[in-house]
Amino acid sequence: MNEPAKTWSVPDSLIGKRIPKMDAPDKASGRTRYIQDLEIPGALHGKILRSTRVHARILSIDTSAAKALAGVHAVITAADVPWQRPIGVGRDHLPLKADRVLSLRDEIAAVAADSEAIAEAALKLIRVVYEPLPVLATTIAASAPGAPRLHPDRPDNVAMTFDYAQGDLAQGEAESDVVVEDVFRLHYVTHCCMGVSGVIAEFDPSGNLLLYSNTQVPFLHKREFAELLGIDPGRIRIIQPPIGGGFGSKLDIYPFEPIAIFLAGITKRPVKLVFTREEEFIASPTRQPVLLKLRSGCRKDGTLTFRDVETVHDNGAYTSWGATTPFVMMQTISSLYRVPHCKYRTVAVYTNNPYAGSFRGYGNLQATFAVEAHMDKLAEAVGMDGLAFRLKNAQHPGEVTPQGMHFKSCGLKECLTTAAQRSDFLRKQAENRSRWNDPDPVKRGIGMASMLHVGGGAKIYPSDGCGTILKIDDFAHVTLITGASEIGQGSETVLAQLVCEELGLPMTAVTVVNNDTDITPWDVGVHASRTTFIAGNSAIGAARKAKRKILEAAAAKTGNRIDELGLAGGFITASSGEKLFELAKFLRSLHFSDKADLVMTSFYYEPPSRHQDKQFKGDVSAAYAWATQVCEIELDTETGIVRLLKVTGAHDVGRVLNRLGIEGQIEGGIVMGQGYALTEDLRVEAGVIRNPNFRDYKLVTAPEIPEMDISFIETMDGEGPQGAKGVGEAPAICIAAAVANAIHNATGTRITALPFAPENVYRALHGASEPPVWNAA
């Protein structure tokens, strides 16, 4: 161990600087030990037998041959765990299915064996006899009179409904000079985390459970697993190894986790259960597929009058977070632009399809896709350009929307004008239009879309808090123990940065501990773009406590007031900038006194927000993030290929903390949005996924990544840590909407169904597609 150098070179402020991610060297050099790399002595390997039928009664399961295979320690079915309870957001399915399977992913049996190969071989020896049942492959089939019930307590196969209204729709319609209506169809995509799902479960002799888990919500999961096992949550410890991507996929509890726990309990051995890539495609959640009907109106002068939205969500066989995406969708419908009269209704219908979870953007990609298409359409109808029309209806700081959201800071107008100016939007838009009838089959298009998303936490649970423990050792090294989970987004770096900023220390002086529920303070989980905002404020709170304590001790020595002292460059300094004490030395002297109480605790609960009431009205976040993205495309009308050439984005991020980190978040989000718009398409036909592999499920690859021009609009949010807002989800939200508007600008054709894969676009351009039609349940 080296003692820190006597003087540190620290810039005046770390805020806004380009700081490399703390975990980058390990990840880049292959040293990071993901759950796949963890070898627990004595661990068995778990594998799951999944249904081969989409909808069927299980008549019998014969596991005798599998049990007899050498190296097999346990083969379990629902019969072995009669005490199991339904899991998931809807508490509507058992980890191991007892008498009926409702989708192709359904878990029927599981094996624990000495090796993965033996476990695989054992699965092949299990004989299941099914009696086929009619497959409900669409929401229409599931809503038809006489359709079989998928869940006994849901006679109409309706999983969830949402109804929201503000103002008076009839009045809004009456005041409208223009009304437009379209039906939009949004498809299945899935997260494609590079690190596939996995868990290691282990009981100690006293029955305490240790889980190595990739979850995004360790503290909430403790409670869910405890409920499932009927034990005290205090007896469950969750350790998160470095997680290879989350994007919302790891917010719910999924059957593989209880199954690994069952196997560990029965074999009294640690059990490691890690998905194959095919399994990840088949058995991890999707983004919510949606059919959406939107009617919008405005006056001749461009003032929005009303929006009327109906959506049908294909819920799949079970209810996870996907069913609750209307919470976010209705915010975009009601509050992205000022619109006085609004109605929103969603029905989520059970089918035999894969079920949807939460996914970066949480319904907002779908809602924004529809709303922004209509912003262009209405603008055109009243003869305004898209920018002026949006500016006329844009929210401004201080607005409290009819849904109750309070925009204390709001940079939407700056986002709109910045993105439009930097992309030369209006000139290019006119130029592209003038080329519709050119002989050149390759057209150019430009399109814009904006978004609104929570950026200051989200009141989804009764609390949105996060705790921090901070200790400083006698070499002035800081250990930051935070409840916030790192899933690759860079939270540990930004939290360390915020602490260093307060304490005048370099990034090398901080270690972050963030992955063990026995050590870290409580946190609600990594979701809703909340970590920088909530955990950042919590970390700042702890650092400020430490600073105060240090300066008080220094003041006692020097006779200064503490506001005359500061921490900078590893020194305690006077207001003149004079270095009074080297911090490390000073702390050592404290450690040899009785005043060395240098362990701080703090917490942050975002204060000024309020839960949605039964009518979905409320102010769910302490701050809201805004963005405008302009997409430029090239479209070959003879092949239907759409190439995304350039994205010009302007993001209201409150304030840039780590410039390198925020650029990475935004670039990654744009590429994820690009995949949603152009290439990614989980092909579900009659409940079967046709492309559970990276050959036929097309992620965006490096040559397709567009040029990006990103501007940061710094609105300095009053509640944000150093003025910052959350930005994790924002960049993925607008792309599909902006590309849709660009396709219209290139060709005059408006396509309302995703994805814009070549054949789909070609069909739409040549009148050979089936545009979405409304067939509400």
């Binding site: 092949t639 492309n691 036929d696 097309k698 690859t701 490096a702 070549p758």
Partner: protein, 270 residues
């Protein structure tokens, strides 16, 4: 080893390994790694014929000046082949033996009238037979290579001076994709008329195919818009695309129509 016949041959492994992992192919009792057999390597021209050893990787083809300058149609296809990593491992022999109707190198090789060299050693003496590519390929994943035979090389006669070719591959993305359709077309200008017209397609039939009627519509003709359209219409009668997870048969026909016309326009410099 090969004589017994129950052998799986491993070269680059870029098709073999994913296929066995996915359970679509089973290893035979003997897995024979041929990667270090020097006789199966190398690119050389002799008397107007380029011999490309079966183990030549796609990257080696791309790096070869001979291939780039004299077999440019093949070189273009290699440039569209999967990704850098796969091109470093994948061999031309493997691409041929995999006999995919969408195989990237197969389409230009068919247009260039290549033949494969099959070697066997049934009783201690080496036996060689040469089979035109069109006869070598029997169907998706099927070729006429016998169980005791090894594909040793592919031989490509050099096209005549002035031959110009263009390869077009359609996929959802520029890299790491399997052809929805592919086209290799080439011709030589003889004054105002076209000679040595060669057109081949991938992913529109059970094997890669030539389009003899489309070629005939151009051979010896002036390259004008009407002739091109006639060739394209002839081609549409020669293809039998299917609908699968990548595209519908209708869309494949539309692509052949639009893109053959575009490729021919470039080739004929209209």
């Amino acid at each position: 080893m090969l004589r017994a016949g129950d052998v799986t041959v491993l070269a680059g492994g870029t098709d073999l390994m994913p296929q066995t992992q996915a359970g679509r192919l089973r290893f035979r009792p003997v897995l024979m790694n041929v990667r270090r057999v020097p006789e199966l390597k190398g690119i050389a021209e002799d008397n107007g014929v380029v011999r490309i050893g079966a183990l030549v990787t796609i990257t080696e083809l791309l790096d070869s000046a001979l291939v780039r300058e004299r077999l440019n149609l093949l070189w273009q296809a290699c440039d569209h082949f999967a990704s850098d990593q796969i091109r470093n491992a994948a061999t031309i022999g493997g691409n041929l033996c995999n006999a995919s109707p969408a195989g990237d190198t197969l389409v230009p090789l068919l247009a260039l009238e290549a033949r494969v060299v099959l070697a066997a050693k049934p009783n201690g003496t080496l036996q060689i037979r040469r089979v035109p590519l069109a006869q070598f390929l029997l169907g998706p994943g099927r070729s006429c290579r016998g169980l005791t035979e090894l594909l040793a090389a592919v031989e490509v006669p050099l096209p005549g001076a002035g031959f110009v070719g263009e390869f077009y591959k359609h996929g959802t993305r520029p890299g790491l994709d399997i052809s929805t359709i592919s086209i290799a077309a080439g011709a030589r200008r003889d004054g105002a008329v076209l000679r040595d017209v060669r057109i081949a397609f991938g992913a529109v039939a059970p094997t890669v195919i030539r389009a003899p009627r489309a070629e005939a519509a151009l051979e010896g003709h002036r390259a004008d818009a009407a002739t091109l359209e006639a060739a394209v219409q002839a081609a549409l009668a020669e293809i039998h695309p299917i609908s699968d997870v990548r595209a519908s048969d209708w869309y494949r026909r539309e692509l052949i129509h639009n893109m053959l016309k575009r490729v021919l326009t470039h080739v004929c410099k209209l």
